[in-house]
Symmetry: D3
Subunit: 111 residues, 6 copies
């Protein structure tokens, strides 16, 4: 998956959803708020997002949160640890998603 | 749910499993290792555990990780933020588990 | 499960959550809005809620949506059909939740 | 995804399954029966199917039920409302599937 | 959980469902057929059922399939191995269900 | 999906994960151990793996376990029966994964 194309497509479709119904703006705002800097620093929230994405086997979510983790200064080892937390929680059925996460990290020259 | 009884019962059954098959000792050790202090401090790993528990709607897991979060010095607001991350990720079907988390925090005099 | 006690406990814990963090008020409002009368009449939205609850195996959600379905004038047959849609979608692992739904309908003298 | 190719491929593989084992004919018949016109009109059953598909993050199911919704005369707003019911129920991990639903609706000139 | 009471309650509610809608008889028959002796002997199908029940975290399903496994002559070690297959597949969030399985096996004097 | 390419890519990414963190070697070893010949013969364990893969809607897992089933001498009918056990357990939302399984079996000249 090309990351720039993924991001562009994701943004376009989010916009399409928001143009058709205000709910998607409201839900998106609520999601942004929950992930904003708080008692838990944003970096750790994004690592939580990555662990959740692996556990729930959502590749698009993995790609989104890996990018945000990096923006927040997360290191390679922190990304790997968050991925492991998703795998131990969700078991071997999360392996394809963990492989996807590692493949994306390789493509982004993190590994 | 009485927390001491829950903990005692959980320990007894974990022991029963480990006595019957070494796998459960090995899996448990691997889980402990993944949750140990690392590049991500243990406190944040336990908060990740709480968010994962809410998202995957596992009450026993919620009760286990809330206690570990507190042991690691997590504050009330951090516990609430981790719960919110589980709810926004997993939607309204996680509400019963989030209610359980708040009820437990009230019983433990955190709220 | 006693329905009045369930409702009271549910309301108390929802209030506790909202008092501790505005997010839960906002998410709850968004949920109410999505379930309000629209192009799809509220009765059918509540039947969708019941089907989703059975599929996702959430007993608290089943009890909540059955009550709302009845308030909106849904008949016994409509409730049964929504339950079936959850079961065929989610398979035999939804049977315990479907049994719970029927048990609740019996206790409410719908069956 | 090209819709005609998807439909053709889906039909071919369903046939392959039914040719190999009568179970798949029986399960398919049961599924058809549950989705047939009843106390709940077929249009609303298909909207339930769409909401379930978004909640359970099944893209093939989304594409199947959107087409059936349209055949039954569902409007754009009804399709959007059913999608929202799936998203609020299943949270932000359903967003990729909701984006897929909107993308399909755009390709079918519904949006 | 008392096993006889569980079985009685399960049977009563299954009957209630079947009395209200023929679908539940048909789905139940299909489920029985899939689990009947075939190329895969019934004992191994019931062990598959146990592994699936642990993975999908369905306690009622665990209790149902453990009893069927025993009826089919499965040994303690086979029951433990099927449980392990569910746990490694579904991760630590399946532990509460695995504990439930071991607790039931202890109550049935298998362990 | 080309099976040789899938296998090669899967192996490469597993190696990448293991090179970056010993956890993935340990988890993989534990998974191999659980799936090894025991009181339940390896062939039946792989059929359990296939049923779990269909139920949890994991295409990569389906492709992995089908190959192992064949290596262990499982017949076409056993593969079909394991797939049916996944479908009846997990409902119509598993159909796309069951179609994938049949498509793979056709490509491998099993059907």
């Amino acid at each position: 998956m090309n990351i720039n194309e993924f991001n562009q497509r994701r943004n376009e479709l989010n916009r399409l959803m928001q143009e058709n119904d205000a709910f998607f703006q409201q839900f998106g705002d609520l999601d942004d708020e929950v992930y904003s800097d708080g008692a838990i620093p944003k970096k750790y929230k994004e690592l939580i997002g990555l662990a959740i994405s692996v556990l729930s086997r959502c590749e698009d979510c993995v790609l989104y949160h890996i990018q945000n983790c990096i923006t927040e200064g997360a290191t390679k080892i922190e990304l790997v640890e968050a991925t492991k937390l998703g795998v131990i929680g969700g078991g071997s059925i999360t392996y394809p998603t963990a492989r996807f996460a590692f493949n994306m990290m390789k493509d982004m020259n993190i590994l």
